[in-house]
């Protein structure tokens, strides 16, 4: 009788505890997730996204998007990536899902800024350039 009466408590509380423990382990202990952030971009070299520095867009800045694994970034830069050069590139031997995304004029249009034609890459194989974004896979180094 009591089991039926308190069925939701008996089932949901253990599930909630398990869920909290799993989330805690994943996001706080192992930091097993991707981190995305904007990095400085030189429009003379790459196709950059354009961002506004204020609500009125009186001043602009150029950026690309970097995606890294959080635990990897933590190892390279600590919790704060400000002034961390390793945060700007995908380093050789870096574990999965690291990418640097530049603006694609075909898809992003006016959001892009290119001063000189085409980005300049070193040590990057053409096959590693993905269709709508320019990504650098593990082991490659991008010189910005």
């Amino acid at each position: 009788m009591n089991f039926k009466k308190y069925f939701l408590l008996y089932t949901l509380i253990p599930l909630a505890i398990l869920s909290i423990a799993s989330s805690y382990y994943r996001f706080i202990v192992t930091e097993d997730y991707l981190v995305e952030y904007e990095e400085e971009c030189n429009p003379e070299v790459n196709s950059c996204f354009i961002g506004c520095k204020d609500d009125d867009c009186s001043a602009e800045y150029y950026y690309c998007l970097v995606t890294k694994h959080a635990s990897q970034l933590m190892t390279q830069c600590g919790p704060d990536i400000t002034d961390c050069e390793s945060a700007q590139v995908c380093l050789p031997g870096e574990k999965g899902d690291c990418s640097v995304t530049f603006c694609d004029i075909e898809t992003d249009g006016d959001a892009c800024e290119v001063i000189e034609m085409g980005p300049t890459y070193e040590n990057v194989e053409p096959s590693e350039v993905i269709n709508n974004t320019t990504s650098v896979e593990i082991g490659a180094e991008l010189i910005i």
Binding site: L15, I28, E31, Y33, L34, T67, P79, I81, T82
Partner: protein, 558 residues
Amino acid sequence: MICYLYPEPSYLFFTTGIPELLYYSHIPTAIFAILIGLYVFLNAKKSLLNKLLFLITLIFSLWTFFNLFAWTNINGNFILFIWPYFGILSALLSILSIYFVYVFINQKDISFRLKIVFFTLLAPLFIFAHTNLNLSGFNITYCDPYGFEGIVYKYYYIFVSVLSLIWIPILLIKKYLISDINLRKQIILLGTGVELFLLTFFLATFVASYFSGIGVLGDSRIELYGLFGVLIFIGFIGVLITKFKTFRVGIIASQGLLVSLVILISSQFTYSDSQTATVLTSITLIFTGAIGIILVRSVKKEIRQRQEIESLATKLEKVNVRLKQLDKLKSEFVSIASHQLRSPLTSIAGYASLLREGNFGVLPAKMKEPIDRIERSARFMAESIEDYLNVSRIESGNMKYHLTDFNLRDETEKLCNDLRSQALRKGLILLFRTDMTAKGFVNADLGKIQQVIHNLINNAIKYSQRGSVTVYVKDDIKKRVINVEIIDTGIGMSQSTLHSIFQKFERGDEANTVNVAGTGLGLYVAQKMAEAMGGNISAHSEGEGKGSRFVLALPMVM
């Protein structure tokens, strides 16, 4: 990971560069909600409805706390850790609201099957909360994970919210259609409160989340407005508390609650340093004040009514004590009548009989008539006392019936044989006739049935001066009853007598013409006994001087 563009909060929550509305929308609403929930819960801890209301406010406050944390903190790990619980708590809020409405309208817990349905709806959210189905990453530039939310997971908890928004009105409308006016008012209040609360909460959080996610909105500050829905909900709950006693919260407690709410809202002025916050605080204070005036009026009315009720209760208590004393006296009288009056009367009748029969020597002839009168009067008095005792037992519910199966036809025939000599002494013929299809068994108290039939035949003999008394036993298979009809050629009854003949102390006007003594209780007792055994007695007559027909109908045993 740290969101490098934002300042670190002080004391976990306080930081600059966030919407001014944030603290106003989160802190008071969460405190209001939890105060109300806790308050209602503490007033009646065992009430399931109160527990559910407390849980709803607790979940809402938890959601608000997490949301405030996510708005003000810059540590991606912690934000991601709590992020899955926005969906879980939203869904819990929706399911608990359905549960709450169920308990409110049915006044009992939901079925086990429905609990399984609720569990089935919620379980996937808990199970997949920490997986990539829910969240896969975090944007430390914007300090949120919108771009990494799993679509399936997100749409699933939105589905649960939408489900509750549809489910709750359906439940309430179904109940509304079969309720009285008082419950209808409560249903309208509760339904409006819950739906507005869920709708504002759902729309603001979903819209904010969705449009921020796709980049239409710069941030999700629109969700701040959704939290004010809880104030509407609390307002309606307050009316239900004071006006309808829905949550069994005391009157004085309601006043205290109102005062604490006003103080709490007013305290917002102390840290509202912007014009927007001041205006919003003023609006909330006006809103709460308006609701408060209604509540206070209701409370005053309640107090007045309570005083009247208390006064009446005191009077009623005194009357009740007096009634108990009278009841005790009555019981004592019944006991005296039973043991101290009946026994001597039986002795008087017995000795009179012995004297008449010559057991104490031959009596002179002129003594016979007085002795007969003594015996008849004593027996009549004993029968009268028995009638009074029966009435007393019937009315107090103490009459005992020992039901057994017996043959009604045979028992009626025996009674006819016993009473035939009495009829003959009056010059009457007592006939017994049957027309039976079945065996004639009934399930009743044999002694009581004998008493009833004896009474009816005896009446027929007493009120007939000439002619015959016919006892006719027949059954009706279709109606499954056995009828014992007692037909006489006596004084008959008028229509007015027929209507009142089974009432207590009622005797027909015609009875006075034949000089027969009676208490007017015999037929009343007989009718009550017959009814207690599933039967009834009906009286029929074509008029005065045209005889009577009494029919005892009892359900037959097949």
